[in-house]
């Protein structure tokens, strides 16, 4: 059909495959492909599995810009662990963040994101750094919890979850905890992008994006785990 042919490599059966293996449907996948393709059409035409650099992806998908866990997202979802996204990595990310994804699967992905040092446990150190990142996006440096409060919070959390005494939260405990918190599903979620309706003459119809927040100004954001000044285009 008309739409599949405009993106090389995205044939009908590949699309069918994607719909079976992820929580997205065809419209969403096509829209993601459209955005992804528009980053650099030549590279995709040469190699369907081309991996784009982090900065290019962030520029295109604005929902990742101000996220304090941005580096973790890129580390976890990137299939080759090189902080670059191919199209399939992007699909994994959007599928995990969609509304149809069940809480357990989200919890499994979230565990990997929150496990900042990658040791398979969310330990006290992990929790302290998570707290730093959560409060660090604000404009003033003033909003920082001191070390004592952070340790206290970490201890309270680990006390509540007394399942095993390895000094950290394992994957199974994390899944159990998250299934008991209703807000998790709605916080670990970004709304899927708009769909592509098959238009007349095989041309896709896309609803225009509403204007973003600010363009052309300098603002502070998290990049590579450190605060950086970035010009918004």
């Amino acid at each position: 059909m008309g739409i599949g042919e405009s993106y090389p490599g995205l044939t009908e059966d590949v699309l069918e495959d994607y719909t079976t293996l992820t929580y997205l449907n065809k419209g969403e996948i096509l829209y993601l492909m459209k955005k992804f393709y528009s980053i650099d059409p030549n590279k995709i035409q040469n190699n369907y599995h081309h991996r784009f650099e982090k900065d290019l992806i962030i520029k295109k998908f604005d929902v990742l810009q101000n996220n304090p866990f941005q580096d973790r997202i890129f580390h976890v979802f990137s299939s080759k662990n090189d902080d670059c996204f191919s199209f399939e990595d992007l699909l994994d990310l959007c599928s995990a963040m969609s509304a149809e994804c069940p809480t357990e699967v989200k919890a499994a992905w979230a565990f990997r994101i929150f496990d900042l040092d990658g040791d398979g446990q969310i330990s006290t150190g992990d929790i302290s750094e998570i707290l730093d990142r959560l409060t660090g996006c604000s404009k003033d440096r003033f909003y920082r919890l001191d070390a004592e409060s952070k340790t206290k919070i970490a201890n309270v959390i680990l006390d509540e979850i007394k399942l095993d005494n390895t000094g950290g939260i394992g994957l199974n405990e994390f899944k159990i905890i998250m299934s008991r918190i209703p807000e998790f599903h709605s916080s670990f979620y970004f709304r899927r992008p708009a769909s592509v309706r098959p238009g007349r003459k095989g041309k896709p119809l896309v609803r225009p994006l509403s204007p973003g927040s600010t363009t052309g100004c300098l603002y502070l954001t998290w990049l590579d785990g450190k605060p950086r000044y970035v010009l918004q285009v």
Binding site: T20, L21, Y23, N25, K26, G27, V63, N66, N67, F69, F77, S79, E88, L91, D92, M97, P102, E104, W109, R112, F114, G120, L131, L134, T135, G136, S138, Y143, R144, L145, S149, K152, I153, V156, I157, E160, L163, D164, N165, T166, G170, I177, R180, I181, P182, E183, F184, S186, S187, F188, R191, P193, A194, S195, R197, S210, G212, S213, T214, Y219
Partner: protein
């Protein structure tokens, strides 16, 4: 092992720890990871039934799809796993003929699943306002997004209702009207009050024809039947949809988290960040609000937890009761006052408009009043919100019920049209307030904030706006029977409301400082809408049974509206046998019997729910113990791999003489009785005892095991350890 000490080892966790294994071996090669995952999945027996249909199921069927989709791995890993799965199954498959019935069943379920997917694709592709809501969520967080989501859902519901009513009820009437002329004045005040020229128009119940409509050719369309059946079926259909939606929401947000965390720290840390935020300003606000909440929680934690004395608790309880009583009295007083106003016979022209205006203002201002009142009471924040929602819901429903009762009791000739006019006026005047006045107030507040940034930032008041939606929907449920075009009016109103509220939010509001619990509040709102529909169904149903006015409307030929069914469709006067059966079925005895069986069924469900809740408790505790098991076993494996097996096989002791001792030693023997603790094996023991280890290798453990027992739980004190072997021993000796 810790978990075997309790006799609960009946259930085994089917889900194995494939995820943790795959995670832990994260550095390992991905092929090995895929092998591990495939091995785990093969243990799911259903997938591995060997027959050709389940192969097809496995390839495309729902179970396979879900099992693969739920894997928290990347797409490449999923593909590898899938390839390995089908490879391994094709090795194991045996061809066995299966019955035609089973094959048919599988085909049907597969086709149904495909059909459902197509329908959801279709609905998704026509979803309106998607980008707009996403933009709002990015700016304000997902709570505001949930309000707009609710608005959109109600809009879709009303649009469907409007379209169906137009097709089945209004259009035939318009066709019938083509010949007649329109009379009466059509001034502006008439438009607002629905009187004058509008009174006898397609707008209201009174105008609808009571017989057949013939417009084109020989086809006739029976108006009373269509009016009655359209209304009843639409109401029941929407009631079913709402019940389903409310139950789903309730199950998701209340039941599944029962027994949840009392401690909110974990919630704040792991769910505090809204991943949907786009703008930098909203991110900064989210960060500062998280900081403030942590500060608050820490200070609460630090405060000495003083258990309140009995007097203080009683005092709080008394205050709550008194204030609730006062609120109920206020609501009752309001209703009485409104009744008196309605009944007042004045000479003022268009007195009804004035009364409707008063009602609209009362409904618009009372939520704010309740908000202030609830601060006096001693409730937790979330309970206070639910209490306010409940009180406002009570006010709305009681106002509408009062109006219904007033107009049915009054002696106006065509009370149905009068009721329709009342609801029409309410919707119109509320549109005036919420589409014009409120946005003006919001913009004024935003303007003041811009001039003076120190005053409180205006936030988008989600509770108040949601209550407006619920009120409008309740008015619609009441009025749709008497004024079919009201559905169109309300749909249009919601459409405008979306854009107006969006502009208000974007231009005049700031993102909220406190985090709003959207999920559970949504359930309460759905419940309120369902409740209002239920009350309407009940009251309209009882009205239909009572009697219809003889002067107007489509049911003039029947003494009671219910006569449409009994006389029109079933033709009961001509079928005495059927009439006797039906009158038997509606006798009080039969109804009481049905009611009683309903009570019994409810009690049974409740007992079952309680049993399942305690089962959930047991399972939760089992989870804890299984985790302890895992610890224990991992530690033991560690030790064994270090060569630190601490047990030596014990030499055979002399068989005891007395039967009791024999029984104790042979039969009721724990499985590790063949071993004794060997200090020499401890790693940190004297080094000269090391060489002795060679002759007491762990492999002798296996020899002993084979001889001992074939039972399952051998280390539980309840097991019957080899009673047959005990007899063998005595025979030998």
């Amino acid at each position: 092992m810790p978990s075997r000490q309790i006799p609960y080892g009946t259930l085994r966790l089917r889900r194995s720890n494939s995820d943790s294994e795959a995670l832990l071996t994260g550095g390992a090669d991905s092929d090995r990871q895929a092998d591990i995952i495939v091995r785990e999945m093969e243990q799911l027996q259903r997938l591995m039934e060997d027959n050709p249909v389940s192969e097809e199921l496995r390839r495309y069927g729902p179970k396979n799809r879900e099992a693969l989709r739920d894997l928290p791995q990347g797409l490449t890993m999923k593909r590898t796993v899938r390839a390995k799965l089908s490879a391994s199954v094709s090795l194991r498959s045996k061809h066995r003929p299966i019955s035609f019935y089973k094959r048919l069943k599988y085909r049907i379920s597969f086709a149904l699943k495909k059909g459902r997917d197509r329908i959801s694709e279709l609905i998704f592709s026509i979803e309106p306002w998607h980008e707009a809501i996403r933009h709002l969520e990015g700016q304000f967080g997902s709570a505001v997004g949930s309000y707009f989501h609710f608005l959109r859902w109600l809009f879709a519901l009303n649009l469907l209702l409007a379209i169906l009513l137009l097709c089945f009820v209004v259009v035939p009437q318009v066709l019938h009207d083509q010949g007649n002329n329109r009379t009466g004045s059509m001034g502006f005040l008439d438009f607002v009050s629905g009187k004058g020229g509008f009174e006898d128009s397609v707008l209201f119940y009174g105008h609808y024809h009571w017989g057949d409509v013939t417009s084109f050719g020989p086809l006739t369309y029976n108006m009373p039947f269509s009016y009655f059946f359209t209304m009843i079926s639409l109401y029941l259909f929407f009631f079913a949809i709402l019940c389903y939606r409310t139950a789903y929401s309730y199950r998701r947000n209340f039941i599944e988290i029962a027994g949840g965390l009392s401690n909110v720290f974990a919630t704040k840390v792991f769910c505090g960040w809204d991943f949907g935020i786009v703008s930098q300003h909203a991110a900064a606000l989210n960060a500062s609000s998280i900081y403030n909440e942590f500060k608050e929680l820490l200070s609460e934690q630090n405060k000495k937890h003083v258990t309140m004395s009995l007097w203080r608790r009683m005092w709080q309880y008394m205050v709550n009761v008194v204030v609730t009583g006062a609120v109920l009295a206020l609501v009752a007083g309001l209703q009485y006052g409104l009744w008196l106003l309605l009944a007042l016979k004045t000479e003022v022209q268009h007195w009804e408009i004035f009364v409707s205006l008063i009602i609209t203002f009362v409904v618009a201002l009372c939520p704010l009043l309740f908000n202030l009142i609830v601060r006096v009471e001693y409730y937790k924040a979330r309970t206070a919100l639910y209490v306010t929602l409940a009180r406002t819901g009570l006010l709305d429903i009681s106002t509408l019920t009062m109006l219904l009762v007033y107009w049915t009791q009054s002696d106006t000739p065509c009370w149905e049209s009068a009721l329709g006019r009342e609801t029409y006026r309410l919707v119109l005047l509320d549109a005036l307030v919420s589409l014009f006045l409120l946005p003006l107030v919001e913009f004024a507040r935003g303007f003041i904030f811009k001039l003076n940034p120190n005053s409180g930032a205006p936030e988008f008041n989600i509770a108040y706006n949601s209550l407006t939606l619920v009120y409008n929907q309740a008015v619609l449920w009441l009025g749709a029977v008497w004024c079919p075009l009201l559905a169109v009016a309300v749909a249009l109103k919601f459409l405008l409301l979306f854009y107006v509220k969006r502009e208000c939010a974007l231009r005049a509001c700031q993102p909220a400082r406190k985090v709003w619990r959207a999920a559970q509040t949504q359930t309460v709102l759905y419940m309120l809408v369902t409740l209002s529909l239920f009350v309407t169904l009940f009251s309209v149903g009882s009205l239909f049974l009572r009697g219809s006015s003889q002067t107007c409307g489509p049911f003039v030929t029947y003494t009671r509206v219910w006569g449409v069914v009994s006389e029109g469709v079933l033709r009961l006067p001509e079928r005495p046998a059927l009439r006797r059966v039906l009158s038997f079925l509606t006798r009080p005895g039969v109804i009481a019997f049905l009611f009683l069986s309903l009570c019994v069924a409810t009690y049974f469900m409740r007992a079952r729910a309680r049993a399942q809740r305690s089962m959930v408790d047991i399972l939760r505790r089992m989870l804890v113990l299984q985790a302890k098991d895992k610890d224990f076993l991992l530690a033991a494996i560690d030790k064994v791999s270090n060569g630190e097996w601490l047990y030596n096989p014990r030499e055979e002791e002399q068989a005891a003489d007395s039967h009791t001792l024999k029984y104790l030693q042979e039969v009721r023997k724990p499985s590790n009785a063949a071993y004794h603790f060997d200090v020499t094996r401890l790693n940190h023991s004297m080094s000269e005892t090391r060489p002795h280890r060679a002759d007491t290798r762990p492999h002798s453990y296996h020899v002993d095991r084979r001889r001992r027992s074939e039972d399952g739980d051998t280390d539980s004190s309840f097991s019957w350890q080899g009673s047959a072997s005990c007899l063998n021993h005595t025979k030998d000796q």
